[in-house]
């Protein structure tokens, strides 16, 4: 069991190392001169451009030898220093991101957990009823093909503009300040529901397809046939099938995280929801490279942590790993 965890941890540390290296490498070895571009965007006067250029060169530490830059980069990361934002000058990137993370999580986490539960449930139902399956499966595939932002746009347009039920921008009304009053919570939830729904609905399709296929596969496995021959009730066989099918779905949760994060970025952009995706868009539109780099690092760290949690969950659920008997894809 410990061996399993250590092996996983090892991969994650390597991944983190790799990601940080890419984060460091790309601004320095990309064709073109990012700093030049930056300066030309932000200053009109040639003199201030010069000052800006030398400031940025220093900020990136570009006058140092490469290996030193690389080490400094790591030191800065462990100090939590991700640079100063240009778009929201002079706020440090770290504090901007720290402010936006709660908004991302409050939409993302419920959407992931609920869609996973509901999707698995619908998928399992679909697998048992042949007549239902033939009409449900195409629907699942269509749902999973919808780009997140398009569903967001449709929901915003239909429910927000045409019917005018929900507000479509921001996390709460401009006239309010965050507090724990009843009024604010309702207002917050009203703003929250549409981004949540667009993430929730698209994900259901994928989980349902996965569960349906796995259950059908398990019901044809030898142990199911054997139980059938022994005269076990259908309910019992299904319960065994479900238990076996849920394991790959947990692994799937880890594999899907990247796509889901991508979806949440796009969804936040649609609803101007002040999470990391929205910050990222501002960073990109304003060529705020520190901000983009910082968000990249945070996404990686978040995904790695989530992966690790999924691994622990898997360990708890799968008795083979828990008891150290080895198991699939260890």
């Amino acid at each position: 069991m410990l061996k399993y965890l250590i092996k996983k941890l090892y991969i994650y540390i390597l991944t983190f190392f790799f990601a940080v290296t890419i984060d460091w490498l790309i601004p320095r070895f990309m064709p073109g001169d990012p700093i030049g571009v930056l300066v030309s965007r932000f200053t009109g006067l040639p003199e201030s451009a010069k000052v800006m250029y030398s400031y940025l060169t220093k900020a990136f530490g570009l006058q140092l030898p490469l290996w030193k830059q690389y080490i400094n980069f790591w030191i800065a990361i462990f100090k939590g220093d991700l640079g100063i934002s240009i778009y929201l000058y002079p706020k440090p990137v770290l504090s901007i991101i720290a402010q936006s993370v709660p908004y991302t999580l409050i939409v993302l986490l419920p959407a992931i957990l609920l869609s996973w539960t509901v999707g698995n449930y619908i998928g399992a139902i679909s697998a048992r009823h042949k007549s239902l399956d033939s009409s449900m499966l195409p629907i699942f595939y269509i749902i999973t093909s919808i780009p997140y932002m398009w569903l967001g746009i449709l929901l915003a347009w239909a429910l927000g503009i045409v019917f005018g039920i929900f507000p479509i921008a921001g996390a709460y009304s401009f006239s309010m300040r965050p507090n724990w009053s009843w009024q604010f919570v309702v207002d917050f939830l009203k703003h929250w529901i549409l981004p949540f729904l667009s993430l929730f609905i698209v994900q259901i399709g994928g989980w349902a397809i996965g569960m349906r296929n796995l259950i059908i596969y398990e019901l044809e496995a030898n142990y199911s046939r054997y139980l059938e021959v022994l005269g076990a009730s259908e309910g019992l066989i299904r319960r065994y099938a479900f238990k076996n099918a849920i394991l790959p779905q947990i692994t799937g949760l880890a594999l899907q995280l990247g796509t889901i994060v991508a979806g949440s970025i796009a969804t936040e952009v649609v609803f101007a929801y002040p999470g990391m995706g929205y910050i990222l868009l501002q960073g990109i539109l304003n060529q705020d490279y520190f901000l983009v780099q910082g968000v990249f690092l945070f996404i990686i760290i978040g995904v790695l942590l989530a992966n690790f949690l999924v691994d622990i969950l898997y360990m708890i659920v799968d008795p083979r790993i828990r008891l150290g008997l080895g198991g699939e894809n260890v």
């Binding site: 991969i11 994650y12 790799f18 984060d23 790309i26 601004p27 780009p147 398009w150 990247g258 539109l285």
Partner: protein, 280 residues
């Protein structure tokens, strides 16, 4: 081949998928010729006009013709699917074959790289690369999508290769001293053809969705038009608030239909290649 065509045209999912895909493909090919306007970005009309005989899908806030943008956007979408998805498939196949067939240290190294890249969200990687490219075209976009989307393919191909490697006919080929490359190409690859086709279809769909995501957060092509850029512009210029539905419905609908048609093709092909799954 004859058998394949026979079963293919008995399979409803395959037929529906193919029909939708061909519809959009033909629209992408002939659309620019039948459209009234030649340049998708040219200001040709009044702004925010609803669909009419002059502007089949209405106009944007800038008075650009939405239909013209749409058909040119479709072209970019197919281009990215073909080249981005194609590149990802080729890289995934190569790495998967080599890792699975060679085994040993090379296998360990390649799989470590694959596992690392699987954990890193593709979009995050794309963002950090694309953000630093001052000029981007759809060609470059396909290349960076292709370079980042291959890991799951490599892993799956490796697993397939491992299981094929120990089959008898491969052992026989080894005994006859066939070169490894020849064994991979002539003995193993043909047995995976159906699988490869299906992987390519999935990568095609994945590349399209990845490109839309990039375009939407402002990292799309710096010139030209694509379906994702249409979505981005419509959101940035308040098409939702103004109710200009003809601007954002067509691109999203087309992407959804193309991607789901690809999925249908994929399940259809699965049933065609695999007799046990065939519909009665």
């Amino acid at each position: 081949m004859k058998e394949f065509i026979y079963f293919a045209f008995k399979n409803t999912k395959f037929k529906i998928g193919l029909a939708i895909l061909l519809f959009f493909l033909i629209l992408a090919i002939i659309g620019p010729y039948v459209s009234h306007y030649k340049d998708p970005l040219e200001y040709v009309s009044m702004s925010n006009l609803p669909p009419s005989r002059e502007n089949w899908l209405g106009t944007t806030t800038f008075g650009q013709d939405v239909f013209t943008q749409f058909v040119y956007g479709l072209r970019s979408t197919f281009f990215i699917g073909l080249f981005g998805g194609g590149l990802a498939t080729i890289i995934g196949l190569l790495i998967g074959f080599i890792a699975g067939y060679k085994g040993g240290l090379l296998d360990d190294l390649l799989m470590m790289l694959t596992n690392i890249l699987i954990v890193i969200p593709t979009l995050a990687l794309l963002i950090i690369i694309a953000a630093y490219l001052p000029y981007r075209g759809i060609g470059i976009q396909s290349v960076i999508i292709g370079l980042t989307a291959w890991p799951w393919t490599a892993r799956a191909v490796r697993a397939q290769t491992l299981s094929l490697r120990s089959r008898e006919f491969v052992n026989l080929a080894k005994i006859t001293a066939l070169r490894p490359l020849k064994i991979v190409l002539e003995e193993i690859a043909p047995n995976m053809m159906s699988y490869v086709v299906m992987v390519f279809i999935l990568q095609f769909a994945g590349a399209i969705l990845a490109a839309v995501g990039l375009d939407f957060i402002g990292l799309g092509p710096t010139k030209g038009i694509s379906l994702g850029l249409m979505l981005q512009y419509s959101t940035l210029w308040n098409a939702i608030q103004l109710g200009i539905w003809w601007w954002f419905i067509p691109p999203g609908l087309a992407i959804t239909m193309i991607v789901s048609s690809l999925y249908f093709l994929n399940i259809g092909l699965d049933e065609i290649f695999n007799p046990r799954l065939r519909e009665e």
